[in-house]
């Protein structure tokens, strides 16, 4: 199926493929899924896409691809065709029959997104409880749920699940899961998870009107985050911190908090920076110049590398000194 389905699913799939580093065994389910994916990708028509996904589901109602197929059916039903009832019907039909726990959890995550898109907050709440009871949640499962709850603006749920996930956001939890890692790494990763949770918790508090507690949550956890070499926060903490400050009528501080995220991170961060600028200056005037100056101040050098092309020639960045370079990471699937 088209892989550009909801972002979290793509990320999970990418992480999984990076983690195992091998292509999956080509069983008949995989081959059928590949075929269906090709057909799905070949058409732009949402009704056709739904039909392709439904056909796969009918033939393979209980395989490791059933959750993906559900996502691929539901996505056009919601985004293009606005037929949530049909989407829900698919879950009524297929969710009970999924026997593999992991696939079942994936399918429940898609259902959670469906609830968030249709504003069914009570159902989302109940489903979250069911999921946590049925499965041993990994930290990434909490993150998926938190993201969905944020999308749904279910702030009570975000707050509660953020607190619940803290049990996995500490160095001991890391040591349990990966006994061979160093104490240093366990501490660093455990802290990063805490920062991740604090980002969601703080944002929930802000949206629940607890402004001071929100800012305190961000401030107290800011030194636990990690950063890419570009200086961008690995967690949403600085983004939500900036958004909270903006909402609290402190646009200058907002811009200061998420400068690097705006320059080199998400569009959301840039959008917030833009709004803060307008709030502070009354218009767009001067914004472009300011952003350019900040880019010049904060840009980092491209790490050197040398890789082979498909003619087995080595291409070195060193040889391209003085040129303007566009470098894009991609994969065909």
């Amino acid at each position: 199926m088209h892989t550009r389905y909801w972002p979290w699913v793509l990320t999970t799939a990418l992480l999984a493929s990076v983690a195992c580093g091998q292509s999956p065994e080509r069983g008949s389910t995989e081959m059928a899924y590949d075929e269906a994916s090709e057909a799905y990708g070949a058409t732009e028509d949402p009704e056709e896409r739904v039909a392709i996904a439904k056909e796969f589901l009918a033939r393979y109602p209980d395989t490791e691809r059933t959750a993906d197929a559900l996502a691929n059916a539901v996505w056009p039903l919601i985004e293009d065709l606005e037929q949530p009832d049909e989407a829900y019907e698919l879950f009524d039909t297929y969710l009970p029959g999924i026997s593999d726990a992991e696939t079942r959890l994936d399918a429940q995550k898609v259902l959670a997104i469906l609830h968030s898109k249709t504003g069914k907050l009570d159902e989302l709440d109940a489903l979250a409880a069911t999921m946590i009871e049925e499965h041993e949640f990994q930290f990434t499962d909490y993150l998926d749920l938190l993201e969905t709850a944020v999308e749904a603006e279910a702030w009570e749920l975000v707050s509660r699940q953020a607190d619940a996930s803290l049990v996995l956001a500490n160095p001991e939890a890391f040591k349990t899961q990966w006994p061979d890692i160093s104490d240093e790494d366990a501490e660093s990763w455990g802290h990063r998870r805490q920062a991740y949770v604090a980002a969601y918790k703080g944002w929930a508090l802000e949206n629940l009107g607890q402004h001071d507690q929100a800012l305190t949550t961000f401030a107290e956890n800011a030194d636990k985050t990690t950063y890419t070499f570009l200086g961008v926060d690995d967690t949403p903490l600085h983004l939500y911190w900036g958004q909270s400050l903006l909402r609290q009528g402190r646009p200058e501080e907002a811009m200061e908090r998420l400068t690097l995220e705006a320059l080199f991170g998400s569009k959301e961060a840039m959008d917030t920076f833009h709004k803060a600028w307008v709030a502070s200056h009354g218009s767009d005037d001067g914004l472009e110049d300011r952003l350019w100056a900040l880019r010049m101040e904060h840009s980092k050098p491209l790490p050197e590398f040398a890789l082979a092309n498909y003619e087995n020639e080595t291409i070195e960045t060193r040889a391209m000194a003085g040129e303007v370079m566009l470098i894009s990471a991609w994969s065909p699937t």
Binding site: L307, Y310, A329, W330, S331
Partner: protein, 102 residues
């Protein structure tokens, strides 16, 4: 998919000192070559295998795709594009022009 949108930029600006590089991360050589051929892409297409590691995740710290870095003539990463939406290529072109300079 953004890679086909880079081809016209490559054609337009390569004589002004612009280089375009796509790094394939899943080691799917067959799939990559198919894509390049189908879309008639002529800029640099590289495989992400540098010694024991990889460049995209380890050196460039790119964790999601598609992600694009734009580098100025001094080798500084000045613009990043995480994800891709229709129309982003227009902004990219403006950025490339700015980096190429007069």
């Amino acid at each position: 998919m953004e890679l086909p949108r880079i081809e016209p930029l490559w054609q337009k600006y390569k004589d002004q000192g612009f280089t375009a590089i796509a790094i394939e991360t899943s080691r799917d050589r067959e799939g990559a070559l198919e894509f390049v051929t189908e879309n008639s892409l002529t800029y640099h297409f590289l495989e992400d295998i540098e010694g024991d590691g990889n460049v995209v995740a380890d050196k460039l710290q790119i964790y999601g795709q598609p992600t694009t870095y734009l580098v100025d003539r001094n080798g500084q990463i000045v613009f990043t594009h995480i994800g891709f939406e229709e129309g982003d290529e227009l902004q990219m072109e403006e950025e490339i022009k700015k980096l190429l300079g007069p």
